[in-house]
């Protein structure tokens, strides 16, 4: 059972009789913090003035990565329920029960039945708990989406601007091509192709950059929070979306700029109009 309360642990160097102590499992990070090893004896209590219970570290465990826990910085130990109840002086009391249903029993009807049976507790299905406890991540996800929209708008404007500048830089080239008889349509197609190429190469570079940034992000936060959770994941859908958006915007921007260019008189493009 996980002890949610902050437990105050004091390492005892003295040996104590094994019969007097209980076994506990200590979270790896807490064991590292307190330099505990299997077989060490610790003193436990629910308050600083009641540290009377001795316990032997019988296991060190790696907790399952939980995004809800990482920022709290809480440390946990696990012990047998009767030991914890005895330590807290609240025998036969628990925070919650887990109930496994027989196959085929609908969780919602079991929940309704339990809630009708008595008051003083509330039954929830696993799905309801997951939905409730994931609210924080729903909010974070909404925030990320909003930031992503702003970033996409900024990128789109940046791309439009760069494409416009890139095409306008070719004014003299376009004028010379027109003077030697190249048609406006050919110039337009060439500039459009160039824009598509730039967008494609830019997308490829962007994917590589995103991949590196994702790796750095994961490495940094996994180390920062001492967890195996994955913080940044680049999925094929994200890559596809990024490339498609970049291509569409690049071609549109390049096309619009090229259209303006081919409609301008060659002498004006040459700077003599």
């Amino acid at each position: 059972m996980r002890l949610g309360l902050t437990l105050l642990c004091l390492l005892l160097m003295a040996q104590v009789a094994a019969a007097q102590v209980t076994g506990i499992a200590v979270e790896r990070s807490l064991a590292g913090q307190l330099r505990l090893h299997v077989g060490d004896t610790v003193r436990l209590g629910a308050a600083p003035d009641s540290m009377g219970r001795l316990a032997v570290v019988s296991a060190i465990y790696e907790p399952r990565p939980d995004p809800a826990e990482i920022a709290k910085g809480e440390r946990h130990i696990r012990m047998h329920l009767p030991d914890l109840a005895a330590m807290l002086g609240s025998a036969d009391r628990v925070d919650r029960f887990g109930v496994g249903l027989e196959p085929g029993v609908p969780p919602d009807s079991a929940v309704a039945m339990l809630n009708r049976a008595a008051f003083g507790y509330r039954a929830y299905s696993s799905r309801a708990i997951a939905s409730e406890s994931s609210q924080t991540f729903v909010v974070v996800s909404r925030f990320h989406r909003a930031i992503a929209v702003i970033t996409i708008v900024a990128s789109a404007v940046f791309l439009l601007c760069i494409m416009l500048l890139k095409v306008e830089e070719r004014r003299t080239d376009a004028a010379v091509m027109r003077f030697v008889g190249v048609s406006g349509r050919t110039i337009f197609a060439a500039l459009l192709l160039e824009a598509a190429l730039i967008a494609t190469v830019g997308s490829a570079v962007g994917i590589v950059l995103a991949w590196i940034a994702g790796m750095v992000t994961n490495a940094y936060y996994q180390r920062f929070f001492d967890t195996a959770l994955i913080f940044s994941r680049i999925t094929p859908e994200i890559v596809l979306f990024g490339v498609a958006l970049s291509l569409v915007l690049g071609v549109l921007a390049g096309g619009a700029a090229a259209w303006r260019l081919v409609r301008t008189r060659p002498m004006v493009l040459w700077g003599r109009g």
Binding site: G4, L5, T6, L7, L8, A46, A47, P48, D49, A71, K72, G73, A118, F119, G120, Y121, Q135, T136, V139, R142, F143, A146, I147, I150, T151, V153, A154, V157, F158, L160, C161, I162, L164, L165, E168, E169, Y221, F224
Partner: protein, 397 residues
């Protein structure tokens, strides 16, 4: 013509290009402003929240933060007596939090109960009716959400139950209390139904025979400058309690929301990079297009410094216009982003992630202007070193 006016005129020659550049800078500036507001807003908003009633120190069970666990303090009266004898302390009050049930016609409503000492409370502001007085063990205060779910108002009586035992399906204790007033609890999340009674009444409702317990003790220090010194003294005097000043609590809170601070730094930096790239690209292309014009100006005696000043002025004009638009856009997007983040479950309703402050706005503005100056360095260098004769010859052919 001044350099800035020259810059504005130069930008006006290419309206589409300038408009797109301004849009890009505005979005980047808005993002930067939002991120600057986010990085400092969390701390400021939380500190304001904690200091809203003027209490600068909290004492809680060792190893816990206020209301972070269900752990409680014992021997509260002795702690309070010691604190109230300290000449540096103006006021000290205990708070006990507990989950209670309000009885309506045919059902029980879960509410959160605060046991407070009216003479030293840091939790609420009275919005209607009267506050409790220390001896009032039959009075109760309600938040608006609690009044709604209980269907009660000032002057009504309500039944509160505590210590429900699911095995025998009865409450350990029940009390009928009279609503004295409506209050706004500063730490409640949106829609939280909360009630407050005097501490003794809440202790009887929440704890079975174990009196004199509290969730935390709040302390108001006479001199704001002495808060950290008093907190250090209390840590020595009460080694078995957790003593946190507002600065300590802000520090703990900052650790929990470190992700948002770091995200704000990363996104703010990226916004600056985008702004630099955009301005540098635009100015470089503009300078390249106008090399002939620049060479002509140099040929008729205009100094290199004047040319560089003009390029810088164009960058400055761009950044000033873009930043002005960006600040307006940033304030709007900040409200939108704040509405998203403040919907975090359990967050106090009065908390804000994005806090616009004069120093934040001016800092973001200064950073943007510096960014514009940095972005103008390369094009300015390009303009200054343009060979006069070769450029004029190339222009003539």
């Amino acid at each position: 013509m001044s350099a800035l006016a020259w810059g504005v005129k130069s930008l006006a020659r290419r309206p589409l290009r300038t408009a797109l550049s301004l849009a890009g800078i505005a979005v980047a500036a808005a993002m930067l402003l939002d991120m600057v507001m986010l990085s400092g807003g969390i701390d400021q908003s939380f500190a304001q929240l904690l200091l809203s009633r003027g209490y600068q120190i909290r004492l809680s069970p060792k190893g816990t933060l206020p209301f972070d666990t269900e752990a409680s303090l014992s021997g509260t009266s002795a702690i309070l007596a010691t604190l109230r004898h300290d000449p540096a302390i103006e006021a000290a009050g205990a708070v006990l939090g507990a989950s209670l049930y309000g009885r309506t016609r045919d059902s029980l409503i879960t509410v959160f109960g605060y046991g407070i000492q009216p003479e030293a409370q840091a939790l609420y502001q009275v919005t209607a009716g009267k506050d409790l007085v220390p001896e009032d063990t039959v009075g109760i205060l309600l938040s608006d959400p609690a009044a709604r779910v209980l269907g009660a108002g000032v002057g009504d009586s309500i039944s509160l139950l505590g210590r429900l035992d699911p095995q025998v399906a009865v409450a350990g204790v029940g009390r009928r209390l009279v609503v004295r007033g409506m209050v706004h609890f500063v730490y409640d999340y949106r829609g939280q139904p909360s009630v407050a009674t005097v501490l003794a009444a809440m202790q009887r409702l929440a704890h079975d025979g174990i009196q004199d317990r509290a969730s935390l003790v709040v302390v108001k220090v006479r001199d704001n400058q002495a808060v950290e010194r008093v907190a250090a003294g209390l840590r020595q005097r009460f080694p078995r309690l957790e003593v946190n000043s507002v600065a300590d609590l802000v520090g703990h809170f900052r650790e929990r929301l470190v992700y948002f601070r770091q995200l704000s730094y990363i996104l703010g930096s990226m916004s600056l990079v985008v702004t630099v790239l955009l301005i540098a690209t635009l100015l470089t292309i503009t300078v390249n297009e106008r090399l002939g014009e620049i060479a002509t100006l140099r040929a008729i005696g205009v100094s290199r410094a004047t040319i560089v000043r003009q390029v810088f002025a164009e960058g400055t004009a761009l950044i000033l216009l873009g930043a002005t638009l960006g600040i307006l856009l940033g304030l709007v997007t900040a409200r939108y982003l704040d509405a998203i983040l403040t919907s975090f479950p359990g967050l106090p309703a009065t908390f804000s992630f994005f806090v616009p402050r004069a120093d934040t706005l001016s800092r973001a503005g200064l950073v943007l202007v510096l960014t514009g100056a940095v972005a103008g360095l390369y094009p300015a260098w390009l303009a200054a070193r343009a060979p006069i004769a070769a450029t004029l010859r190339a222009e003539a052919t």
